[in-house]
Amino acid sequence: MVMGRAEAGAGPAALLQRPLEDILFWRPGRMVRPVTGASFLRAAARVAAGLPPASAYLNLCRDPSGTAIALAASMLCGRPCVLVTDPSPAGIATLVAQFPGAYPLLDEGAECPSGFACASIAAVQPGDADGPTPNNPVFPAELTALIGVTSGSSGKPSAHAKSWGALEARNRAAARRFDLRDGGRQRPLVGAVSPTHMYGMETMVLLPLHASIITWCAPSFFPGDAAANLAEAAALRAGRGIATEPVFITTPLQLGALVQTAGPLPAMHAIISATAPLDPGLAARAEALWNAPVLEIFGATEVGSIASRRTARDETWTLYDGVSLHPRNGLIEAVAEGAPPTPLSDILDLLPNGGFRLVSRSSDIVKRGGRRASLAGLTRILAGLDGVLDAAFVMPEPSPRRSGTERPVAFAVAPGRDGASLLVELRGLMEPAFLPRRIQLVDRLPRNEIGKLPREALLALAGEVERR
């Protein structure tokens, strides 16, 4: 496991960097709707005092305010908070094996997966609203606050630790980049992603701690949810000096769905996309429909968010303040305040102004629904099944209509086996997002003279099988 180590220069920083009376989270339909800075700090202290001792805490919360309290309580206990993206019992068992002595934390009222003991994060309660001025803890920059885990395709999950100094520095840089300090004017933020995905954590959970952001705590997964929540958030103002234009946090997939079902949306401060490349045509359509800038974040699992661009207008990316890129041993290394230098797997062209152009994403890595896997790793799993002599996975070309909905296509040479039974076996071995619709059995794979499988040949084979 790689632990984040702080670089020189990053100093201790307070958990909350906003006035105590500011609203951090808004929870529609709950008993206590606004979560203020003061009630957040009181809830975090209350939860931390009741946590069982553990080596780390697994964050299974789905509510952004609960996720934030779970993170703060873990930090108060001096233990890292592990982001859980697969809350199934199998997913949790994998994490407990990887982090012995780790303890799962759940939203209040959520069901603990059978076979585990969990602690419930009693979110902000009426009693948290009043009381003596709460303590605003100051954490050292080198404290390991978060651990993100990427799975799983190669069979070896890897952990990416984030120090408090790195999170705090990048959070301030994002607030500056997206103009979210706004002279103290608070602004609602509606997020369509999970708060325990790194992108959701950075935007929906961390921004409200340090920027003038009120995160809307209601699921916005479907286009219908997002439209309704944005409309409600725009109407929140209620004489409190709250801006009426919300920030919308989304992904290319969900933005595509929203454009397709295109209903009216309120005026927005910005639409922000990440997790997969955003098609410039889609960005332009969204800008034209809703008259808001569509901004795209460039990030990598290893380093988090480091740059952004306005996709409909800019080909090149502008680095966040405090981030720089350097060529080193044939790779590009990202150096960001508070984090160790990290080599990137993508191929970038560095520009004289300090920005960059993306030449190509690492071709072996496929992303689907915010999860990533390596094609080589997926292929190894299929090739390892009984009776499979040869195998291949390929990602089809993005569909012009809805980029991001494509599924990997799988081929196997497996005389004596049928595709359906191979697929059933695969289900237990890889994440659902990467399961092919079916296994296409072929007599042989189109390997070239040196045994390689050119992507074009596999795509041609996929087309041929489809036409049969």
Binding site: F221, F222, G224
Partner: protein
């Protein structure tokens, strides 16, 4: 895609269910015919093996065809997506409240 004309007052959920099955097969390019979907089998994971990206695709198709917006904060969400039959019943319930939208254009 043409809108689906459906008269919920006839209680004709079977017709909607058949139409919905075809809509799902087309939208997700499933390797099966609409008739092969067991109306009571789970749509996700252990049944048809669909995932959240497929759910988003289904939501877009349902919105285009029936003018019904699926919501994830519906307390019945798990039940709505439990099977083809439950999804059809949910759509029918929302269609019947807005029959004009379903029959227009």
């Amino acid at each position: 895609m043409a809108d689906f004309a459906f008269n919920a007052s006839n209680g004709d959920i079977a017709a909607l269910q058949t139409d919905l099955a075809q809509t799902i097969v087309t939208a997700l390019k499933l390797e099966m015919s609409a008739a092969e979907i067991d109306p009571d089998a789970p749509l996700f994971v252990e049944g048809l093996g669909l995932d959240s990206i497929d759910a988003l695709e289904i939501a877009v198709s349902v919105s285009e065809r029936y003018r019904v917006q699926l919501r994830s904060d519906d307390p019945n969400n798990k039940r709505i997506f439990a099977s083809l039959r439950s999804l059809a019943e949910h759509i029918a319930a929302h269609l019947s409240r807005t029959p004009v939208a379903a029959a227009s254009s």
